[in-house]
Symmetry: C2
Subunit: 549 residues, 2 copies
Amino acid sequence: MKIGLAQLNYHIGNFESNTNKIIQSIRDAKQKGADLVVFAELCVCGYPARDFLEFNEFIELCNEAAQKIAAECQDIACIIGIPTHNNKPEGKDLNNSAYFIENGQVKAIVNKALLPNYDIFDEYRYFEPSTQFNCIDFKGKRIALTICEDLWNTIENPLYVTRPMDTLIEQNPDVMINIAASPFAYNHDEERIAILSDNARRYKLPLLYVNHVGAQTELIFDGGSLVFDKQGNAVDELPYFTEHTAYYTLTDTGEITFEHQTTIKPQRDSDIQQIHDGIVLGIRDYFYKSGFKQAILGLSGGIDSAVVCALAAEALGPENVMAVLLPSKFSTDHSLKDAKDLVENLGCKSEVIAIEKITNAFEEALHPQFKNLPFNIAEENIQSRSRAVLLMAMTNKFGYILLNTSNKSEVAVGYGTLYGDMCGGISVIGDVFKSQVFQLARYMNREREIIPENTIIKPPSAELRPDQKDTDSLPEYDTLDAILVQYVEHRRSSAEIIKQGFDEETVRKVLRLVNLAEHKRYQTPPILRVSPKAFGMGRRMPLVGKYLT
Amino acid sequence: MKIGLAQLNYHIGNFESNTNKIIQSIRDAKQKGADLVVFAELCVCGYPARDFLEFNEFIELCNEAAQKIAAECQDIACIIGIPTHNNKPEGKDLNNSAYFIENGQVKAIVNKALLPNYDIFDEYRYFEPSTQFNCIDFKGKRIALTICEDLWNTIENPLYVTRPMDTLIEQNPDVMINIAASPFAYNHDEERIAILSDNARRYKLPLLYVNHVGAQTELIFDGGSLVFDKQGNAVDELPYFTEHTAYYTLTDTGEITFEHQTTIKPQRDSDIQQIHDGIVLGIRDYFYKSGFKQAILGLSGGIDSAVVCALAAEALGPENVMAVLLPSKFSTDHSLKDAKDLVENLGCKSEVIAIEKITNAFEEALHPQFKNLPFNIAEENIQSRSRAVLLMAMTNKFGYILLNTSNKSEVAVGYGTLYGDMCGGISVIGDVFKSQVFQLARYMNREREIIPENTIIKPPSAELRPDQKDTDSLPEYDTLDAILVQYVEHRRSSAEIIKQGFDEETVRKVLRLVNLAEHKRYQTPPILRVSPKAFGMGRRMPLVGKYLT
């Protein structure tokens, strides 16, 4: 039996585009002589469709798409993911389903049993879990079809009380197929391979796994669809961050064979390379799927905006990136020079708009209120916010999307100005710690100097007052980031972090800053997620909570 | 048996305050000769504690609080709500539990079975549902203790596959006690009474129900704790929007008696009165629990900022409200006069800061880029954003919290400037449609004119260009709001709304505007929730989705 795995880039709610892609893949697969072609979880509507799922019309549109797809399935079968109505009177209104379609008909429906409801996942918000499990017979083979998380209930730390494959295996299947929507994080590939390999080995069955590729606002799907033999060896892996379809033959002895060269990597890509590739795809899809082409950003001469500018140039083309230099009286000459060097290295567009007259106008207008009170964070923020007003005016006039350039360390401790440098349509490096931003710059300079060396080596500064340095307010970034990894990504408490050897006062200060900044993060743009715990939908904190503050 | 119901205002993560309140109530109850005092769901840590629950230390702090509370329970019993570790190896890490504490010991633990995971609720993110149900014997009575949603699985449209009381009733209990954390919406009181009454009638048992009161950022808990006789009649209802403790005697014949006058209302408060009272509590608690006292807002002379200003004055005292008039060259004389009249009516503080020189400075700075392109939304937004920069500067200098004044109609269709009038620490009327804002103004003027009559009767305008009216861009608010109620609150699709008799073109335009504004709403402040479907955590939409756009 010849099986195609179609790893495609869907668009939430864009039924026309998704359906056309699926139909085109079915036609290609038929030409290639495939018996079955497999698409990803909820491919018909895109993932995550969130509360669109609560609209009956949206579910009807999914159903109409499935009918169009079914009509194409003559002399070939396909598996698609689709939300369907729960037929039982009790429970949630929907199931997260897979249709097995053959000869124009839905021949079998499989419903997901294990519904992820952690981090960015909200599946129990919409779906009723399945409690019945049946294999599908097709061309003399018996298929154990499951949906994503259904294979993820690990033996060591089971998050769920059931395991669908434990029932399905009793029906003596020949192969496992799993359709997924499993978003990228820099450590996700190893975990995914390990868990799926465990399943193949435990149930002694070959396993074919199809993932989404492409970004949906903050969530990036990396693809990396996988094929395992029944010993649990990964025998093939589809490419990362790009659409791809590949074909495999399931032999009568239960072996998986294929004609192309395996793309299994002898060595995994580095975290930084994956983060880089993921962000480039994230920017590109955010713009494409929003119907925009051109980005704008403020370029300070510092490393964060430099890296964001270079990533945007790679994603959209330098001709579609407008870098605006917005010097104040506190901007240093080297900052302006570093920014100009970057613009030249990239070949992107640029403008210079000085903000001093604007900040003067604000300070004059506020003179009766501020009188002779000393310069403080109020005046610092006026600079940052004046820049945001200028960038947003350019955006409104010319149809750009403003890129936010805050890094994860800043976002964590609230080192940024709300409605100032925290503005933007999408946060590009808001899930990348400052120490990783440096690594990203070095990685992007691997062939030639794109990010000016001086931008990388100079001490970070917001340049909102004379001789300001980030370290005036914050610990050194290496220390800060190490503490933040423990608190934010590993969710360790202060006592545990201090026990690891960090200075107690520093730990308490950092955790306090993180918790006090919740109200700022609440109003910031969606952040491209590249880590297992990004700020945004995956981390939900009370604002008025009094814990570690 | 004498039972106290303690309806208290907790603060998320503020263990010291919560524990002290609970202990004080236990002491009071003992003095009153009570046998048992009942507190609300998850009272120890506050509700919703969200991802604080993922920190071990947070759960330990809950446990420490419970130990302190238990130590107070000599010669009296209490019921408290607390998150506890799930002892089974499978499933989520926590249970949403109730402790029955007697003589310093936890005598029984009840775990919640039905975990709400819709709208603003995310309980399945943290908690494993219970599957075992046992009554608690105390002083010759058998208590069927359940937690909130456990009684909400309606017969007509069951959201869950089990019903804990169906098991508990087989053990022949004498009374039902339900501890809850059920947030306010203007239609929630009737629904709550109906569902709880149904339970009392169905199981033929008296029912005592304790709710939270007080606001946690956007969520307002209205109290309204209830007592039903075994015929399902509501015999008492605790007051709304205020802390209160009341005592009841469960007689040997299973009747509920009490010595105070019942506060059951012969007629429910109007929706607008409830919204008013809820918002006042919402503002007050947001400031108090954030450790702030003073509010600032921009006062335009229009009805939205006028109503917000008056609500803030009521919540915080007029001496703690700073109204800033920020006229531009497009501001009309009557707007300035209306704003000044309001300030005088309220007795709040005010300042006038003209923005023309500032907007001129922006336009001059942008002249090389904008050249002679016509005045459009870019220049309109510069005005709105210049005001925001001024208000935030005042906030940074003097320690105010900026109040957002957008109404729900504007928020829905994106009729507002991101980083401009959409700024603020908390959105006061973002869940109140424009047509309800007029009703609110009339309600607030019920005894004397607070909101100037001219503010109420003049046609709404943003005054960002000459002779601008809201109706230049939007349908009349009565039509707009009626469509929005169907789409946002009732989640009807376009076809259903058109079928109700609305003009097709208008419906499609409105739904398109709503869906295109998701990216703006993503970055707006938390909105005090007064309806069953507010923008914010309770409504989760994709940003790059292509559905009805």
